[in-house]
Amino acid sequence: MKYLDEYRDAAIVHSLAARVRRTATRRWTLMEVCGGQTHTIVKQGLDELVEDAVEMIHGPGCPVCVTPLEQIDKALILANRPDVIFTSFGDMLRVPGSDCDLQQVRARGGAVRVVYSPLDALQLAMRTPDKQVVFFAVGFETTAPANAMAVWRARELGVKNFSVLVSHVTVPPAMTALLSAPDNRVQGFLAAGHVCTVMGWSEYEPIAAKYRVPIVVTGFETVDIMEGMLMAVQQLEQGRFEVENQYVRSVTREGTVPARELVSQVFELVDRKWRGIGEIPRSGLGLRPEFADFDAELRFGLGELAVDEPTECRAGDVLRGKLKPFECPAFGTLCTPERPLGAPMVSSEGACAAYFNYGRLRRAQEAPRAAEVLS
């Protein structure tokens, strides 16, 4: 595929990795924010190529992992209603709620459908006027324009049986929350390339300046990530802390303005709870009052849910980069992809699942007896 395959070129990846190793005079700690970047790094073993130069801490850039338990439980309530067809991106189906997940609701007879695009959910609503179609509008700033358009169109076309359950989060507040934590170890960031495609990078300039951390807007393929790492390490070695753009083929400083405009017409900033982290003020998006008609929580009278969160899962520590998944006592034993304790083990981008699926070999070789327990 054009503009994809070239960025997986092995020769280029290795030459960049060699440059990273040569440039670093000490080991630096970087965080990649986006779950899709975590996926590539662990799946391709990129962190192993530059191990002595860079420690990668995987950030909370997995909207699946950070969707609050309350929202999952609300999704389950809606999906259980006989008058509702509950639509969602595939990522959400196996995330555990307080008592089950969307796949299990489907098993028990609830109408749950995976869609690729929010517009598909809207079209489904138009085709099935006798049912209520609810769409689970999750994601970061990348997905907000799509979800906003679905709501906008629903209003424009007068679709009465479509609504959205919103759980949007935004990146910069999470980054500042991480950076201002007293035990923060992150020295540089690979910012999320598709979030920045929409938003541009101007909001990261004050963060880089205030916390004195380089921020490199980075793509998702192996070449992109390795180049992003190199740019970050070069800045660190040179004592610079600027925002730079690696993902030049898609990202500009101002981003995609029409997308941001529609998002700001449909959504507004709200306080948002991040599962495993806690509440971060003004870190989420909620529907504006003008679009309250399309808010599934209001339409179905959901209100506040009290959720009971036992603390056996260390997802919070993993999401904040405090703990590597395999340092969690439940990793691979109590908590596996088949029986996940928390979202990071379910989501394909969750750090725990990534380590479980891709990192096992190394640990198996290092500790053969432990491997027997894990497999």
């Binding site: 595929m1 054009k2 503009y3 994809l4 395959d5 070239e6 960025y7 997986r8 070129d9 092995a10 020769a11 280029i12 290795h14 030459s15 960049l16 990795a17 060699a18 190793r21 986006c34 899709g36 192993e48 190529l49 191990e51 850039g61 997995c62 909207p63 991106f89 690729y116 695009s117 929010p118 517009l119 598909d120 994601g139 970061f140 990348t142 997905t143 324009p145 799509a146 358009m149 169109r153 424009e156 076309l157 999320a192 390339g193 598709h194 979030v195 495609t197 929409v198 998702f220 070449v223 180049e227 030049v248 083929r249 898609s250 990202v251 500009t252 995609t256 029409p258 997308a259 529609l262």
Partner: protein, 108 residues
Amino acid sequence: MCLGIPGRIIERRDDRGLPMGVVDFGGVRRSCCLAYVADQVEVGDYVIVHVGFAISKVQEDEARRTYATLREMSQLDELDWMRETADLGLAAFASREGHTAPGKGGDA
């Protein structure tokens, strides 16, 4: 956040006022919303698509330039990184049965 892949616009149309198009992704075609890039793109242009929406136009000149630079750099460096990677290979990726050396058979 977020699966966005590049595709080529092969058709544009209007769906009751909403700019839509058909985008080809290496042989797979899908209907996508072009509303956010409508003024910038024509048929034949490449866009990055996320959940059925084009979120940016691929800056083809930038892409070509940076790729050419990276490619050239990797060729200039080749002896160095191949040797280093082979050394790493013995340390980190040692296989007692032998396996493909890094870089071989991997070029796109």
